[in-house]
Symmetry: C2
């Protein structure tokens, strides 16, 4: 019987473990990240990354073929970022993914960009909105962790 | 002999306890906050608050007269915010503080704005810089708390 290796982090789902590896790699590229940001009603991106020059990237993490096939919203994310990427495990059938999107191979500990997402630059007005959403999202979640007895708005 | 009341939070300094109360109150006003943000080299603000319309407020927390008298940098914060406030405890000699600044009375649990800081609106370019600094600061600290084994850049 196989003995499972030490769990990489017991509380996280497979997609969240990929997101953790993605966020670590983005940090090494100088990008700050948040998870589960809502760019507009009805959409929630797995990872939004904010680069040193204000670049806005969105990364959707798919832990399985079924997880990917169930996503009918991803094209709705494109107008909210400069570049769009999928992040998948190394066993994922990457040929399923559209050519005109970025591709990141991830595990719970790190990630690597295999194919850059094509750039479609946000307008100045939309970038401003997205950076502000990112800022408030990150700060409200940070405050909830720093001051857990008082996180009424989350 | 007086028996001290339960400590409000053992690890925090008096100024940090004021900041916590300030951040709680700002949250009730719809402002997200971060602590100890560096707007430019050599300056570090106690609290930067980001309002729902992109307002940038700076709040300096002073736990004592000596703490205030030792601050020779506060005028340097004015060009980095739309409004500037002091936050002090109720026993602080508020007459020391310049009239043309905002005043917040705070304790570790909450705060109240007694005098609004006058508005000197940031330029669009500087607001963009400040919102982006706020965003990256909040997200990097959040990541350090969420993923403490990997916070190399902090």
């Amino acid at each position: 019987m196989d003995v499972p290796a030490e769990s990489p982090s017991p509380g996280l789902q497979p997609g969240q473990l990929l997101a953790r590896g993605v966020c670590r790699h983005m940090l090494s590229l100088g990008f700050a990240t948040v998870e589960e940001l809502v760019p507009t009603g009805g959409l929630r991106v797995d990872v939004m990354a904010l680069g040193p020059k204000g670049e806005v990237w969105v990364i959707e993490c798919k832990s399985s073929r079924a997880d990917y096939m169930a996503d009918h919203k991803w094209q709705g994310y494109l107008p909210w970022c400069d570049r769009f990427f999928w992040a998948v495990g190394q066993d994922f059938p990457a040929e399923l993914l559209p050519d005109e999107t970025g591709l990141i191979i991830a595990d719970p500990y790190d990630a690597e960009i295999l194919r850059m997402g094509p750039e479609t630059r946000l307008s100045g007005a939309r970038r401003k909105v997205m950076v502000q959403k990112f800022a408030r999202h990150a700060a409200l979640r940070l405050q909830a962790l720093r001051d857990p007895q008082h996180s009424g708005l989350l």
